[in-house]
Symmetry: C2
Subunit: 443 residues, 2 copies
């Protein structure tokens, strides 16, 4: 395995599951494996008390599992014909099966000043620990791009009391995945937290003395002073090794894999952010999914690399994250993506609640469903709410898309009714019922 | 409509939806409509601050909707041939369509002493307000039967600081719906709250001076002193009018209805706890479902009574409720019911978590899935957890049963991964994966 993230470790476990005697080596360029990088923004924000909490397992756990993790080991080349990799300081190493799990890089912002200090790319936990100390001294920060990570970091910095500016070239936050009406309450809550939002605004340069630290960013709408800049541009596949080895890459730059996570080369598999996976309905290749996807893909790749036979299917992409005072989520795609792809849809929207209206702790749950106009088959969903049940509804709605459930099916679904945990009318049911009415009116 | 609960009001709304000019009269024997009786235990327990919170709409709202609600009006007879009802004090009233929504009664405990004071049957909100004052003076209470309501009242009384004894003839709580392993943590938490549990224990008599108030109950395991007894026996359909009118009743005593909620008599529909509805997989008639079911059934009955055409399908019964320090739930049926009905099954069980392991507020989520042995199609599920996502998972799993999802489907389902709202491994996925392993081992 090349890569010690969720995909690489999933793959290592997958091999061992089918061939416990296999010699399994994981190369990682980092000092650690088996921690949750997704938790980093929440330690910065103070929700999680320490970075130590993010570690899942000690290094000894892998030794005991018979998985040989080589830390701070850089693989510099892959030869798929000779079936070798070249490891810096170790030389050429042979393999019978190879899993590429080299993950992602942040897209290069492509502006001057990229070598300045004070530019924080959130990724490695040891660097995050160092940055966390820096954050204690930061008064003003700029977050570049309202990506999922950007949204998390904006919330974290605001919670930490840093004057935070978000810049993004789109007219609203998380434009690549969410709809504007879903993001509107999030943006309002960021403003309430004191965040300054600069949409339709492009980064033009990081400003500072050469060899020094960033002091400001120049944007299409003027200069913003900053002690720190979080660069949260979109994820791009870290495909250098794959490209050099001649593996087939797709339109996103991700490695093209079949349903067994096999690449274009024999006995070479790939998993996680370095791959691209087709969307279940549109076939559009998607890249940069979640750690949960990476882990599942890694498992599949590892099982097959170990001599087993397991398939990974197209994705329907349930997603969710806290943002400001809200939790947002969805499945498949929303209106913005449907419109961009020219996919016609009927909408069913409802503003519901998570518990009985009178029960303490009741939260809003807005559900927005998209269906194919004639069949009324669900094709996508977006959610925003106070938190309760957003993740579980997104998971369900992804399966509803996959299994072809219609507005009819969802409008007649049964739901738990118990005042402390669920309302009389499930918001999904109300949204689907409204969708049926909209379809009848030809909206 | 006869009955002013969720079914009767749902039906009134259903008629108006298809025929806004229809003359709609709702007879209720009570002083109020449009409140949530399900909230009563939570006001007693102090979670909800007042009974006033439980009211959904004022009486004026129904006047404005053109629905004529007759309060404290008792319908004493139904004549399906003459198409009339007899209303006490009002005489004979004709109808073109009739919806019976007369609800439930608690099963008669059938023991001496039933006329004593201090026996609390939780139902009407005005009586609940009076009982709530009584509760301030109560030191020891006995709850008769660990039904869903009994479980809620046990928790409520314990929260209120009353010495609470639960008696139930079964070996564990909620035996009609839940499995013993699901209830074990609930029972432990009740004990921690100071509740005394008496299982395998039958009620033999309410004890007290004739014409006075209960002072104790006699049980198969001895006498228990009590200032108050909550009688939470199972729900039976309030079928007196229907039986007298010659409507066909089923094995539960519930009115038999077709998929349009129509009874055996022309132009007579029924909805809610007075009916029985077939289980989607087994066809076993079920009675005493939730307010959410009653409302949906009422809507269907009303639409059809108003000249529309709407069907109601068999049920897959997602359910859930807080109990002690836990929230329990499920869909379709569990092991206990499957065993009782002679239905073979393979189990998939997992103890998962609701958020990232390191995220504050993370709760346990135990998922137990039952599948048909060969197809591995999901046939039932049971859940217990700290609260987060139990209701939403139960809703989803009921749809998964309905749509024939298998352990394969569920083991490969995608899930949201975001530390604050969902764990890397969705507990349903882990349970299904364990179920596949169990099936391979022929367990």
């Amino acid at each position: 395995m090349i890569g010690g993230g969720a995909a690489g470790l999933g793959a290592a476990g997958g091999v061992k599951a089918v061939d416990p005697g296999a010699e399994v080596v994981v190369y990682t360029q980092f000092e650690d494996v088996a921690y949750s990088p997704c938790g980093i923004p929440y330690v910065h924000g103070g929700e999680i008390e320490s970075f130590e909490k993010l570690f899942l397992a000690g290094k000894q756990a892998y030794v005991e599992a018979g998985i040989d993790v080589r830390y701070e080991a850089e693989v510099t080349a892959v030869d798929t014909a000779a079936r070798t990799v070249t490891v810096a300081g170790e030389g050429t190493v042979g393999w019978d099966g190879l899993v590429l799990a080299t993950g992602f890089d942040y897209a290069d912002p492509g502006v001057p000043g990229g070598a300045l200090g004070g530019l924080y790319y959130v990724k490695n936990i040891r660097r995050a620990m160092e940055w966390d100390k820096v954050l204690d001294t930061v008064k003003k920060a700029v977050v570049v791009e309202a990506s999922p990570l950007g949204a998390e970091m904006v919330t974290a910095l605001a919670h930490r009391g840093v004057e935070t500016h978000l810049i993004d070239p789109h007219p609203y936050a998380l434009a690549a995945v969410a709809d504007p009406d879903i993001m509107a309450p999030v943006e309002e809550s960021w403003r309430e937290l004191g965040v300054h939002l600069h949409f339709n605004t492009s980064l033009e340069a990081f400003l500072g003395e050469a060899g020094g630290t960033v002091r400001a960013v120049r944007t299409s709408a003027g200069e913003l002073p900053a002690d720190l800049v979080v660069v949260a541009t979109h994820k791009t596949p870290n495909n250098r090794l794959a490209a050099a080895a001649g593996l087939k890459l797709g339109s996103t730059g991700g490695i093209v894999v079949d349903d067994h996570m096999q690449t274009s080369a024999p006995e070479v598999w790939a998993a996680g952010d370095v791959t691209e996976i087709p969307h279940g309905l549109t076939g559009v290749p998607l890249q940069g999914l979640t750690g949960s996807h990476a882990y599942a893909q890694g498992k599949v790749a590892g099982v097959n690399a170990g001599g087993g036979d397991r398939a990974y299917r197209a994705v329907y992409v349930p997603w969710g994250t806290p943002a400001g005072r809200w939790v947002i989520g969805g499945a498949s795609f929303g209106e913005a993506t449907a419109t961009a792809l020219g996919i016609p849809y009927v909408l069913g929207v409802a503003e519901g609640i998570s518990r009985a209206r009178y029960y303490p702790g009741v939260k809003k749950v807005k559900v927005k469903l998209l269906a194919e106009p004639d069949s009324l088959r669900l094709i996508g969903a977006q959610l925003v709410g106070g938190g309760e049940g957003i993740k579980e509804r997104a998971d369900f709605l992804a399966m509803a898309v996959k299994f072809g459930m219609t507005f009819h099916d969802l409008s007649t679904m049964e739901n738990v009714y118990s005042p402390a945990i669920g309302a009389l009318n499930e918001p999904i049911v109300v949204a689907a019922t409204n969708g049926l009415a909209a379809a009848r009116q030809g909206k």
